[in-house]
């Protein structure tokens, strides 16, 4: 047999828009609608009799477009195949249709058109702690939540100790969960879900919970599940998590699958759409015209931590420059200077001729910047003591990758990435301590 775990053919899902405020109808509306219907039919009949066919067609068209406007295709003709044992990250902007896809695959909602075939039992984790009841104890909620997620009672009983140990709530297991801290609550909830044993697992943006240690544990657990030959679909905005856990990625945009492939390659191309790393608008300083600035990675379309990176600046001096110079600084977004490079420290530049285009720049062996946004500040030097600041900075982005292990690094981690290893821990001899 083929080893395709999930096959989607032309899956489409239509939603009404503007219905979020009033999702359910009141009976009153239906009654008034029904009461008005015969009159509408009557007036249509009258119009049909008297009006010419052209105006009728116009009306039909107007009605059609009104329908088109009040509906939206959250998924539009989505087709793809996922093989058994693949771990696939689904990425895309908010509202692109990622969650709708998971909802259809987990059979919560029906597609409007198209079909899909899923091979194996499906466990879906669209929310952590679905069905937890605050009045029940941790122990009771494990059983309840497990049953809701589709686990058998015997299966939950077998995994019970493992779940409790994973969640680190041993002491509070017989306390109602309404007395839990939010961290404990989340850990327990994820603990139950992480021990589902279905062949296919659908996970929606739920790993961003708990503290750093627990996040790491969740990642490890996900990777472990993936290694056991189970198929995982993983929706996340956290690119470093997707890169760590998944082998493949699927990009969804406006309800359509726009790319599918190896995870790093696909994410790089996806991110490159949003982060332009070159600028071609001209900027004038008193003695230079600056044509373009470019920051590029030699490894791909986006810049990543520890990539070899080139910074190139194209300029034309307005007059001859006897003693030129280029000074480039990297700043954080709140304008703290992180690092600077002066071309004079690397070489002696020949004089630049007037009205000639020159490209100057640097190659950085390994860019030690953590993922995030930065800006380039450029100074051009036209003589030994006259330095002109380019009146504009250039924002560039270091894309999210796994730097240390794979979790998302907050701003408290600073800006500089260090290539580090942990020392091997060893016991210190007693006499050394008492010395």
């Amino acid at each position: 047999m083929s080893n395709v775990a999930i096959r989607c053919e032309g899956l489409s899902k239509q939603y009404r828009i503007g219905s979020s405020q009033e999702r359910y109808k009141a009976l009153r509306d239906v009654i008034t609608d029904a009461a008005a219907a015969p009159f509408r039919r009557l007036s249509r009949a009258v119009r049909n009799g008297s009006g010419n066919s052209k105006s009728n067609q116009d009306q039909l068209k107007a009605a059609q477009s009104a329908i088109d406007n009040s509906y939206i295709w959250a998924l539009d003709d989505v087709s793809f195949e996922i093989e058994t044992g693949e771990v696939v990250g689904i990425i895309g902007r908010n509202g692109a249709g990622k969650s709708t896809l998971l909802k259809i695959l987990s059979r919560i909602t029906k597609p409007t058109r198209g079909r899909a075939r899923v091979h194996g039992r499906v466990g879906s984790l669209l929310e952590v702690g679905t069905g937890f009841h605050p009045e029940l104890t941790g122990r009771e909620n494990i059983y309840l939540n497990g049953a809701i997620l589709g686990m058998r009672k015997s299966e939950i009983a077998r995994k019970f100790d493992e779940i409790v140990a994973f969640s680190e709530v041993e002491k509070f297991i017989d306390t109602p969960v309404k007395r839990y801290s939010s961290g404990m609550y989340m850990r327990l909830a994820f603990g139950v879900a992480a021990h589902m044993e279905t062949e296919v697992l659908l996970v929606d943006e739920v790993l961003a919970i708990g503290d750093a240690q627990f996040q790491k544990k969740c990642f490890a657990r996900m990777s472990e599940i993936g290694r056991h030959g189970r198929t995982i679909l993983f929706v996340s905005h956290n690119m470093s998590a997707v890169r760590t856990i998944c082998e493949h990625a699927l990009v969804i945009d406006s309800g359509k699958v726009v790319a599918q492939g190896e995870v790093n390659h696909t994410i790089d191309h996806y991110l490159a759409q949003f982060s332009s790393q070159s600028w071609i608008e001209g900027v004038e300083t008193p003695t230079f015209s600056l044509h373009s600035v470019e920051v590029t990675s030699e490894r791909g379309p986006v810049i990543k931590t520890f990539d070899p990176v080139q910074i190139r600046v194209e300029i034309t001096p307005k007059t001859e420059i006897a003693d030129p110079g280029l000074f480039v600084s990297v700043l954080t977004m709140d304008s703290r200077r992180i690092a600077s490079l002066d071309l004079k420290d690397f070489m002696n530049l020949d004089p630049l001729r007037a009205q000639q285009k020159y490209e100057l720049g640097f190659r950085i062996e390994s860019l030690p910047l953590l993922p995030g946004n930065y800006q380039l500040e450029i100074h051009l030097q036209n003589s030994r003591d006259l330095i002109e600041l380019v009146p504009q900075t250039y924002r560039f982005e270091v894309a999210e990758t796994q730097v240390y292990g794979g979790r998302q690094l907050g701003s408290w981690f600073g800006n500089v990435g260090l290539k580090a290893q942990a020392l091997v821990p060893h016991q210190v001899a007693e006499e050394q301590l008492t010395r």
Binding site: R107, T109, T112
Partner: protein
């Protein structure tokens, strides 16, 4: 190697879905846990706890005995009025509570419905079953009351479990309609209390069905609770003497209501997650 692994198809909504009873059976453990949760949670953080299961029918019995039995002089088939009405209040309360709970059940568990897949029928069924605990507690009080009045139930008491089941099924047969309707039209939520109150007077709880004029009997009998209450009274008190026909009518009406309700529910179920 993958022969044991099931696979399934995902397709657009159909007009005539299957009843899905086999799948419902596969999810029986979830039904068990949801029922267990409802029971467990019901009297949490109340001072009187399970006493509430007794207080409600007992107070209604007192009020009915005073106004209908004593002041209005409503006949009671030769049985002491308090026992007569309390015996009917038990299946009635079971039904009324189960119906109200199941009607609101789907909307109340919308967080489950939008996040996890399972046969949605589990939700109203669990809500109905959870009411049985209250019934059992109140039933003990009934036996005590009968003892005080010196009434000993006859052999007919073996039929009581069947009639309890019928009361529960009656509630479910209407609950599946209303719970699904409630997802789409919240008007149902406001109608249900009114409906239950009205229904109480269309059921022989405070009076014997024998006082209903003969020409209205047929119509009256279409109310499935007439059969349930008369049957239950017969099982415990031996009165009315032959409730066979109303019970049979009840069973038929409930069966038809349930079958229609299940289809209606299954049809609407496909959109629950989108509109709840």
């Amino acid at each position: 190697m993958q022969s044991s692994v099931p696979s399934f198809y995902i397709e657009p909504s159909t007009r005539w879905p299957s009843l899905g009873l086999r799948e419902l059976w596969e999810y029986r453990e979830l039904l068990y846990f949801l029922t267990w949760r409802d029971i467990k949670v019901r009297y949490k953080q109340t001072a009187l706890g399970a006493l509430w299961a007794i207080i409600q029918p007992v107070f209604m019995m007192l009020v009915f005995s005073l106004f209908f039995g004593r002041l209005a002089g409503v006949p009671s088939d030769g049985v002491p009025y308090p026992v007569f009405t309390f015996c009917a209040l038990l299946p009635w309360q079971l039904f009324a509570h189960a119906l109200t709970e199941s009607t609101n059940s789907l909307v109340a568990s919308h967080n489950l419905i939008t996040k996890v897949y399972f046969p949605r029928l589990v939700v109203p069924i669990a809500a109905v079953l959870a009411g049985l605990v209250d019934f059992v507690i109140a039933f003990v009080i009934l036996l005590v009351l009968m003892l005080l009045y010196g009434i000993v139930p006859g052999w007919q008491i073996v039929a009581a479990p069947f009639l309890v089941l019928l009361a529960v099924t009656t509630a479910l047969s209407i609950g599946v309609w209303l719970s699904a309707l409630n997802v789409q039209y919240r008007d149902v939520r406001y109608t249900i209390n009114f409906l239950v109150q009205f229904w109480l007077f269309a059921t022989p709880v405070a009076y014997p069905s024998s006082i209903v004029p003969a020409k209205w009997r047929a119509l009256y009998g279409l109310n499935p609770m007439v059969g349930v209450v008369d049957g239950f009274r017969w099982a415990l008190l031996g009165k009315p003497e032959s409730p066979g026909l109303p019970v049979l009518v009840s069973v038929i009406v409930v069966f038809l209501l349930l079958l229609g309700g299940l289809y209606y529910f299954r049809r609407l179920e496909q959109q629950f997650a989108d509109i709840v």
